[in-house]
């Protein structure tokens, strides 16, 4: 046992002398977490989307088109849309260059047609390279269209009056006759106010989660979701790199020389396994520390997380022990190792939210350590003990270990 710990200590010292590679592999998940968190994190401005560039072409230049322009000028809309009024040739040029998310074209006679209660059409030209923002503009215009349609119908008589006034010379308007009409309009306005101020039917929005728990979602919450997935992916990469000694020592003859000493093969195997495990836990702890300090990541009860991290590291060490026992040489290990890790990560939810994946991919995901670690970390974050994840990771880890030790024993004695 003493010899096992001596080898382990020596290995750890050796790796600490050249920490650059491990450091790079620790930096990658942290950098990726930071980037994804900054891009997708909740924004302080209240809107989840950046300001949407909209071009507005007004061929009407009349009463109702002014109302439409005004709708974009309300405080809430100003935050959401960045409107530029332009002419059609310039607007089309800019749309064809992809300089805006959408262009709204108000047709000629828009006001007159509406005042005459004739159907009219607004055109929304959408940026084909964008997937979300043009649709937001289209939906907003649809809502404005309904409001305008309703307003025109509600004040149809008044609209007809205004229409008549637009075409009539000022001198021909009978101001005496306007009095009762204005009185009627005032009554309607007063009546409408009952429905509009405050709005008769409003929506009280609420964001819920499946468990019906928390509704507020902060950037730290997002980091807390992303980092465990990234951490397990790069834990696999790091342990793979560290445990490559199993192969390289065999290839370059170190192993043969070591076995001329009183060392037993089992002690060597134990040292390599323990080394992978201990270094894995150490790497995870560094990620936990940096994640907490930089991203304010919450991990839940630390003891639970430590048990989960320790079990995941054990699984990883056992897996790569078996892997290195089965591959023939470094080239084969290099060729197969990274694809396996990337496949684990892709299907297991390290690269994307498993909920967003196709069902078949999610089913494959349960065969990966990433998925169980991510699920376990989520459970710990919610304050629960990650029993299912621990049972699966520890159980399959033990099976891998049981297969790896005799296989490595055979390779070591060669």
């Amino acid at each position: 046992m003493r010899r096992l710990f001596l080898i382990l200590g020596n290995d750890v010292r050796r790796h600490l002398k050249a920490p650059l590679v491990v450091a790079i592999f620790i930096v990658i998940p942290l950098a990726m977490t930071g980037l994804i968190g900054v891009v997708f994190g909740p924004r302080t401005e209240g809107s989840q989307l950046p300001p949407i560039a909209v071009l507005l072409v007004d061929h009407d230049k009349n009463l109702v088109s002014k109302f439409l322009l005004g709708a974009f000028d309300v405080d809430q809309m100003k935050k959401m849309f960045q409107v530029t009024v332009t002419d059609e040739p310039e607007g089309r040029k800019r749309m064809e260059a992809g300089k805006a998310s959408a262009m709204v074209v108000i047709p000629e006679r828009f006001t007159l047609d509406l005042l005459e209660a004739k159907p009219t059409t607004l055109l929304v030209v959408k940026n084909p390279a964008e997937q979300f923002l043009p649709d937001v503009v289209e939906e907003f215009m649809n809502t404005l269209a309904v409001i305008l349609s309703g307003a025109i119908q509600a004040f149809a008589e008044e609209a007809r009056g205004i229409r008549a006034m637009i075409d009539s010379p000022l001198a021909s308007i009978s101001w005496e006759a306007l009095g009762p009409e204005l009185g009627k309009a005032q009554k309607k306005m007063t009546s409408a106010e009952k429905y509009l101020n405050p709005l008769l039917i409003r929506l009280r929005e609420e964001e819920t989660q499946a468990a019906g728990a928390r509704t507020r979602f902060t950037q730290a919450d997002l980091f807390s979701i992303i980092l465990p997935g990234m951490a397990i992916m790069f834990l696999l990469f790091i342990v793979q790199t560290l445990m490559r000694d199993i192969l390289s020592e065999r290839d370059d003859g170190k192993l043969r020389r070591m076995l001329t000493t009183p060392l037993r093969p089992l002690e060597l195997i134990g040292a390599r396994l323990l080394g992978g495990w201990v270094m894995g836990v150490a790497v995870l702890l560094v990620m936990v520390g940096v994640g907490t300090l930089i991203f304010r990541v919450t991990w839940g009860p630390f003891g639970y997380f430590l048990i989960l991290g320790g079990t995941a590291s054990f699984w990883t060490a056992a897996f790569f022990a078996l892997f290195y026992a089965l591959v023939r040489n470094r080239n084969q290990a290099g060729a197969l190792g990274a694809p396996i890790i990337l496949a684990f990560s892709l299907f297991g939810g390290s690269m994307m939210n498993p909920e967003a994946m196709p069902k078949a991919f999610r089913a494959v995901g349960i065969l990966t350590p990433n998925r169980w670690f991510i699920d376990g970390a989520a459970a710990v974050r919610d304050g629960r003990f990650p029993l299912a994840s621990l049972v699966i990771l520890a159980g399959t880890g033990l099976i891998l270990l049981a297969l790896a030790v005799p296989a490595l024993g055979r390779r070591t004695s060669v």
Partner: protein, 368 residues
């Protein structure tokens, strides 16, 4: 020599995994993901719990219904839903008394935001329709509303289209994921494969031995650069062909798209020779390549549409070579752009290639 480098790489079965099989897996996953999240489900689901004791609840639900919304009625709040609207028991009573009310609209945070936005918009439209009818109806007793009332008419319609001379059909998820994955994997694989082979050939003395041939150091550098460039081109060609055959990829002008990728691959080839000349460990090259290519790919719009990121990040993205390649490909793919549209992009990528090639040439080492 460049041809020989390419032949050796192609002879490695793993090369095909990394340059073809794995990127295709990415294309499929991200293509489906773009489809699922970018374009909301064809029909957005809304669960409605109508507890209303009168007739207004059902009337309001009718106003919500549209081809894009699947209204599912439930007696009580179900455990599983994506979006839920609750009409309270006194919904009609309050309307008839002309008393304002707020309806609970619950959205699951993990459900499609686009579908939620579609439903929400429809709800606002339904509210606008009902209120318009109420205003039209006037101040009379609302209990008599059902005996006869004016119907809402859509006087203002909205028609949407893409700009002229651009695409005519809605781009699929694969139209986004194929170029993104191609750019990302060219970056990653040229850097990893190209860098490692330069380093190994130097460490094993292969580069040194090559100088016994009539080659000069400069020619050796050019050959290494060319070999890695050819590798990037081959990878791009394979992915584009697969994209065209299996995912109906439409890149607009094939020759211009390939030109963009070629100039981008040249920059990456130069960077790979530079990394291979500087680094002495394989793992370090892999680490740097993975770090750099992932960050540049994410910033450059290979992973998600750049439209959703903040203007500050969009500006920062300009430091990524992937940004210029992706933006040029978007211009060609979605806007059916011509040479003039991508000239600035080509200029920037070419300038980057020249700078990187000069730097790589100066640091190119034959021996450690």
């Amino acid at each position: 020599m460049a041809w020989n480098d390419l032949r050796i790489m192609v002879g490695d079965k793993v090369f095909f995994f990394w340059t073809l099989a794995f990127p295709i897996l990415f294309i499929v996953v991200f293509g489906l993901l773009y489809k699922a999240s970018g374009n909301a489900p064809a029909v957005a689901e809304l669960t409605v719990v109508n507890l209303d004791q009168g007739r207004w609840g059902a009337y309001f639900v009718d106003k919500i219904k549209s081809p894009g919304i699947d209204v599912v009625l439930a007696a009580s709040e179900p455990a599983g839903y994506n979006r839920l609207l609750v009409l309270p028991a006194d919904f009609s009573e309050k309307i008839e008394a002309r008393r304002d009310q707020a309806l609970a609209f619950k959205k699951r945070s993990d459900a499609s935001t686009k579908a939620a936005a579609r439903v929400e918009t429809r709800l606002y439209q339904a509210i606008a329709r009902v209120i318009s009818e109420l205003v039209l109806y006037g101040g009379a007793d609302l209990k008599q509303f059902w005996d006869g009332h004016p119907e809402f008419r859509d006087l203002v319609l909205v028609k949407s289209q893409f700009p002229e001379n651009t695409v005519t059909v809605v781009p699929s998820g694969f139209d986004h994921s194929v170029p993104g994955t191609t750019v990302q994997f060219i970056m990653m694989m040229v850097l990893i494969y190209g860098g490692i082979t330069v380093m190994e050939e130097r460490k094993k003395g292969i580069l040194g031995r090559m100088l016994f041939s009539p080659l000069s150091t400069g020619e050796l550098f050019q050959a290494k650069l060319l070999g890695r460039w050819l590798m990037g081109l081959l990878q791009a060609l394979m992915l584009i062909v697969v994209g065209k055959i299996f995912f109906r990829l439409n890149l607009g002008s094939f020759s211009l798209s390939f030109l963009v990728i070629a100039v981008f691959a040249l920059a990456m080839a130069a960077l790979s020779v530079f990394i291979g000349s500087l680094c002495t460990k394989e793992d370090m090259i892999i680490g740097l390549a993975v770090l750099g290519s992932n960050i540049f790919a994410a910033l450059g719009g290979c992973w998600w549409p750049n439209e959703i990121v903040s203007p500050a990040i969009r500006k920062a993205a300009m430091v990524s070579p992937a940004y210029w390649a992706m933006d040029a490909l978007h211009k060609l793919t979605f806007f059916r752009g011509g040479p003039a549209d991508i000239l600035p992009h080509l200029g920037i990528l070419l300038a980057l290639s020249i700078v990187l090639a000069v730097v790589a040439g100066r640091h190119f080492k034959i021996r450690d």
